[in-house]
Symmetry: C2
Subunit: 518 residues, 2 copies
């Protein structure tokens, strides 16, 4: 069928879409969500059909931007339109719905079509939900990892061994990576660290590092920094290491599911050719992994998947029931990291976590001799100031100010203290509520917004003493954040460990935090 | 945030959508697929956000037609935009993903938001796929049925008992309803029949009936026809009896899944206040239900769900391994039905199926005394010509020609015989391939296209004798249909029952038909 092109001046955001009126669609025998093949001047493209009643009339095909470019078609050009078969990857998705195990070729096809924009929202959601409902076995996880790497960019450092670190996330204030990278690089090991921005948290490592230096680097620029300093802090989103994952996240996020946790992480490590990988699994209430038992199972899967994709992997199961250090929010956290690197501030939990992760890496890479010696070496590098110097070297190479002092880092000028209404001991901190407050205050978009904790679990608090301070760039957002506290307290203070957690007298409103970090 | 409205002149087809540039979206803290609340001149609406890079610039919100109308906003109007919470129904969908059983209120909320266009493609797909993966228990099926009725239109006939018939479909040529309705109505019982158009088949009952009379009636018009004749043939799509189902089908169809089979059928019967319902379950290879065991389980669920929604339900498990009668395709089938009603043609399987379904209905309604007597009464009504007269009464009342002769019905003028290459007995007919051929020939969109069978299973065939004839309105489509046959034969002829079905020497290409009828 020859149809007149109407340029709609609108993008779908990802996939090629055309609009047809109901009559033409019926004549072609296609329904909404099915595909047509478009031909113009020797060029061809498949597009997903959206049937509309007003914006195009009979004989007209409305074209989205994603169609205009590959077809090089202009307004009123006559385009040949015919029904197209669905992509073969859809058949594989249907098989997955029928609980068939998918092999590598099938998964690769699905991942390719995901990246190319050949699958509709409905089809991708079906794939992701089926994986979530059925669980991903290690064979499929391996295939998915390799397929994601296959369809993305790679980083060839050219010297090894390449070390890497990842946290599955879930603890606020976790600026551990800002210590681990300079410690590992200062030891002469290569650590080409890519990080994500916050999705559901108050700050991702890319958000934190960006306070100190530009993090949106090309693969070439990243390679240059790593060549000169052995380390880097780069926002992974700019590198397209596993572009399929960016698409899957769009589906996972609204549904609060994360079935691709393992392949998503491992693909990005494989793409930078990591040899040794330390994975942090924060564990406890208010994190992703609630029990040590679950953490062990997850660690086992990581180690086995690592073996299959040739990355020696070890895991740190870490205490996650309260924020790491005292700062939450990009600028506050960057400042705290610099202070700790300089030795100007003590944050025992942050340092402990960082040196243990470095210890795992050093152990695998044969530095310092064995695990506990590895962490001793890491602490030595930190205490000696070598990690601080390495950090500044990286900051300078990435275009930041290598001489930045912690006090130079601007933090939110609008602040409010949250004070204790009684004396006692700080019994708990609610991770999820702290994140909610920090986000209400503007984090991570407003880099200077966040929370500074004055007390951590087990510390004595006097009546009227500040427990935390909320920082914001804008008074309106500060007010929004402040409003949360009277409704629900992000901390608990008591004389002693209290047995009562909560009394339930009517059906409670389910309020569950979902943590997605990539 | 106040943004300038840009009218995009495009519909999403269902839900309110706005486009934002990445900067504004980040400032608002919303991602693609999340929602914003729009305010203008005291009016409000929630819309799903699509983040784009070209078609809107900073400070501008691109609005789809679905937003323009409820907000009454014009180009360049300043609209207040703020992040909106996701609808509570999304939380219920997330709970379903976590394998929680949903109660009626939760399902009603999901169905309401489905009809209102408040759920994105991803969210609806997640719901449908989760139901498919976990299976729908009878409590949830009941809730879904009632919720679909609650959110749709109703038909109040005002006299009873109201009878109804439904086939879960899957057999080509199944024009049984064209006999059942006039037989039941001729017996003085009310049968306000709504039917669907073909989705994956060569003809739906609405497509067949439309050859004889208009079927796109309003609820009021339908009521008028039923008041005067006790029966009717109406396309259900025009009535909005269970509008949620029309949306769910959009998701189910590309995925080839049908988890809502039971509620979808029962909701439409409840909406017409059916008291007695006979359900046809065609069984066998090439239909939806492959074995008698599965058919029994499905029948049990129908009967129990019927009990819960107060519809006395009985099922006919029927032979489905070959087409019903000899014609496939809207016009060919309508002609065959008229011929059988007139007694001008014998189609023993069609008549047998129709009278048994009528027998179930008569049994439940207390007509004719017991099941077997009920079917005898049905046959009597058919043979006496009363069903034919009733049919013509209905045709006339709906605006068709009550005096139409079978030969008046136009069928495709382009035809080709498919002849047997050997003598023997017809051993099998491939339902799915016959449908594929009929659809390639143009059915159901081209009403005159289809297939006429000259032989059915067990009949003797001579070499060179035609086994079937393909009909088309267009020579191009006839050629497409004809092309299928040499690749794969829709029938098998042998001397005797052959044991060999197929030899498999390499990995076969999976080709599975999916049958969706509503």
């Amino acid at each position: 069928m020859r149809l007149r092109a109407k340029y709609l001046g609108i993008e779908s955001g990802r996939k090629p879409v055309v609009t047809l009126c109901g009559d033409d669609a019926e004549e072609l025998g296609v329904r909404s969500g099915e595909r047509v093949r478009l031909r113009f001047n020797g060029r061809e493209i498949s597009a997903i059909v959206n049937i509309v009643t007003k914006s195009v009339r009979k004989g007209v095909v409305g074209i989205y931007d994603e169609v205009v470019k590959p077809l090089q078609v202009k307004e009123n050009d006559m385009v040949e339109v015919e029904p197209a078969h669905f992509p073969v990857s859809l058949q594989y998705i249907r098989n997955k719905l029928k609980r068939r195990k998918l092999n590598y070729e099938e998964i690769l096809e699905i991942v390719k079509d995901t990246v190319a924009g050949n699958l509709s929202e409905v089809e991708m959601a079906a794939f992701v939900v089926a994986l979530e409902q059925q669980g991903l076995d290690l064979d499929e996880a391996t295939s998915l990892t390799v397929a994601m790497v296959e369809t993305g960019q790679h980083l060839e450092i050219g010297r090894g061994p390449v070390c890497d670190k990842h946290s599955i996330g879930g603890v606020p204030g976790d600026k551990t990576t800002l210590l681990v990278v300079p410690i590992v690089a200062a030891a002469g090991l290569v650590i080409p660290k890519t990080s994500s921005r916050a999705i559901t948290s108050a700050a991702g490592t890319a958000d934190r590092a960006e306070v100190l230096m530009p993090v949106t680097l090309s693969v070439e620029e990243m390679k240059g920094v790593v060549d000169r300093t052995s380390g880097c802090f780069v926002w992974g989103g700019s590198l397209h290491l596993a572009p399929a994952d960016d698409v899957f996240v769009q589906v996972e996020y609204p549904l609060s599911i994360d079935p691709m946790l393992l392949p998503s992480i491992m693909a990005k490590k494989r793409a930078v050719h990591a040899d040794f990988l330390a994975i942090d699994i924060p564990t406890g209430r208010g994190t992703k992994v609630k029990t040590i038992g679950d953490a062990n199972l997850l660690a086992k899967d990581f180690i086995e998947l690592g073996r299959r994709v040739e990355i020696k992997t070890q895991c740190l199961i870490s205490y996650g029931e309260q924020p790491i250090g005292h700062a939450i929010g990009p600028a506050l956290e960057a400042r705290e990291a610099l202070q700790v690197l300089q030795g100007a501030r003590n944050a025992p939990d942050l340092v402990d976590k960082a040196v243990h992760l470095c210890g795992l890496i050093f152990g695998m890479a044969g530095k310092g001799g064995g695990n506990s010696n590895g962490s001793r070496l890491a602490l030595e590098i930190l205490r000696s100031g070598r990690a601080d110097r390495k950090m500044r070297e990286i900051m300078g190479q990435q275009g930041g100010n290598p001489d930045a002092k912690p006090d130079d880092i601007e933090v939110g000028e609008h602040r409010v203290d949250i004070r204790s209404e009684r004396s006692g001991t700080l019994l708990w901190l609610d991770n999820n509520l702290l994140v909610e407050i920090a986000r209400a205050a503007g984090a991570p978009k407003d880099k200077k917004a966040g929370i500074l904790l004055y007390k951590k679990i087990g510390e004595k608090v006097k009546k009227g003493e500040p427990v935390l301070e909320i920082y914001a760039e804008k008074t309106t957002k500060l007010a929004l954040a402040e409003k949360i506290v009277p409704e629900e307290s992000p901390f608990g203070i008591g004389d002693r460990m209290e047995m009562r957690i909560r009394e339930v007298k009517e059906i409670p409103v389910a309020k569950k935090a979902f943590i997605l970090e990539r």
